[in-house]
């Protein structure tokens, strides 16, 4: 039996002639924060969608908390959650109504109490009665995070959690995620384009390009391997297909 929180084996997704994800294998130990990095079209969102079971793989397998997502997805869905700026909550429902609906979907026993706790922690109490479609980008992100944390997930998948946020709000979200991981022991997989965020939050990084994992390791080990000072430079080396060890020479 797998002891990993997330495990993929030769995960592949083809859309007709396009190979979006090509034989991706990785494993995430419980309690780790892992970054999934890559340029636009590298396959990050497709990979996350397959981990969630929203998208069926063409080949390969996904296990979350030991459950095969192809066969036993419903054993683990109440223990995982996700947030993405590209998937909205219904605009015409108020924030509170949205959270109540999802609270019941996740089978919470004390929905109102949990919403009150999250409203306090995420500072969203002021706009609980406002329609979700009338929130600013920062407020939407906090609400999306509240929805993602309703069921206190053991596995949290985040697609660009701080996209389009001002630095202050983004920093606040990162601090919150650090605290949540420390207190709950949750496993977090996040796709991001923000390298500062990755350096700060992630224990490990999976670098993707053209649907494949082309490198992996801790931020420190990748910085050392590529001889760079920032993850931004490592990202550019990988995105532009400069191999570790020859990056400086290429410059």
């Amino acid at each position: 039996m797998s002891h990993y929180a997330i495990k993929t084996d030769r995960l592949t997704k083809r859309f007709k002639d396009v190979v979006a994800v090509d034989g991706v294998s990785f494993a995430v130990e419980p309690g780790r924060i892992v970054g999934l990095l890559g340029g636009n079209g590298a396959g990050k969102t497709t990979t996350i969608s397959m981990l969630l079971g929203l998208l069926l793989p063409t080949e390969g397998s996904v296990e979350v908390l030991g459950a095969d997502m192809a066969r036993h997805r419903h054993r683990v869905l109440d223990r995982m959650n996700f947030s993405s700026p590209y998937v909205d909550l219904p605009h015409r429902l108020t924030v509170a109504e949205n959270l109540v609906v999802y609270g019941h979907l996740y089978g919470l026993r004390h929905v109102k109490r949990r919403i009150a706790d999250l409203a306090d922690q995420l500072d969203i109490a002021r706009f609980l009665d406002r329609p979700a479609g009338k929130l600013s980008a920062g407020q939407k992100t906090r609400v999306a995070l509240a929805k993602a944390l309703l069921n206190e997930p053991a596995v949290l998948l985040l697609d660009e959690p701080t996209a389009s946020l001002d630095p202050d709000t983004a920093d606040w979200i990162r601090t919150y995620l650090e605290n949540y991981r420390r207190e709950s022991g949750a496993t977090i997989l996040l796709a991001s384009h923000n390298m500062a965020e990755v350096e700060r939050l992630c224990d490990d990084v999976l670098m993707m390009r053209e649907g494949r994992i082309v490198d992996r390791g801790s931020p420190d080990s990748l910085l050392a391997k590529y001889g760079r000072d920032t993850m931004e430079d490592v990202f550019l080396d990988i995105a532009r297909d400069r191999r570790a060890g020859v990056a400086h020479a290429a410059d």
Binding site: G66, H74, V87, P90, T94, E97, V101, L105, G107
Partner: protein, 277 residues
Amino acid sequence: MPRIDAVLASHAPAFAVRRVGAMVLRYWYLLRGSWPRMAELAYWPTMQMLMWGFLSQFMATTSSWVAQGGAVLVAGVLLWDTLFRGQLGVSISFLEELWSRNLGHLFVSPLRPVEWVAALFVMSLIRTLIGVVPAALLAIFIFDYSVFDLGLPLLAFFANLMIMGWWLALAITSLILLNGLGAEGLAWAVVFLLAPVSAVYYPVAVLPGWLQWLSWALPSAHVFEGMRAVLFQGAFSWGHFAAAAGLNLFYMVCAGGIFLWAFHVARERGALIQTGE
């Protein structure tokens, strides 16, 4: 962090009433938050009933067929609207999820497709009652005709037409899942394709022979023939009732299978996260 062996040993219920309730609550919040939406539900059935009611009053003086059957046209329009509203009630709630790009959130939650469909059916029933009951009550005051006088057969007609609306809606939502929002016009159009052969306002015998076969293949034709049997002969036709119920069962099984297949294809194509405005 839960123990992984505990997760593997856990058993997720295949159907949870609580999750169905959560989805009904979601659609109810949407409906109650907009009085124009609520008013629109009753507006069209009422307008239809008024128009056909006055036409019926006029024709009762010139047509012995209409005069014999009391308000056969008013009963027809109210029951036809039950079918239309039943289908639209499912389709609109389904489209709401696509318009709000909410499918991605819904289907990473423990919600199962069957539970979602059950919630769509419940909401369709609520929307239909909100739409049709005020029109039926108004007909009592304006035309001195109560569709409720049909008695228990009314329940049989209503149930059969609701179920027909549901399987029709499942077939339509399957097409939208497969083809995206470009196919959303089907939600309003398809039911009218069936109107001429449903024999709402005239007997099936009026249709050409080759079209009668198609007509008898629809539960709605049996319901409206049954309705006329009650109004003209005062007798409930068990034959038409059994035919309507049997056909509904057959089509519901087919439409349910098609919906689950379309949902599977949508997961293969990534449509659950990409479909939206």
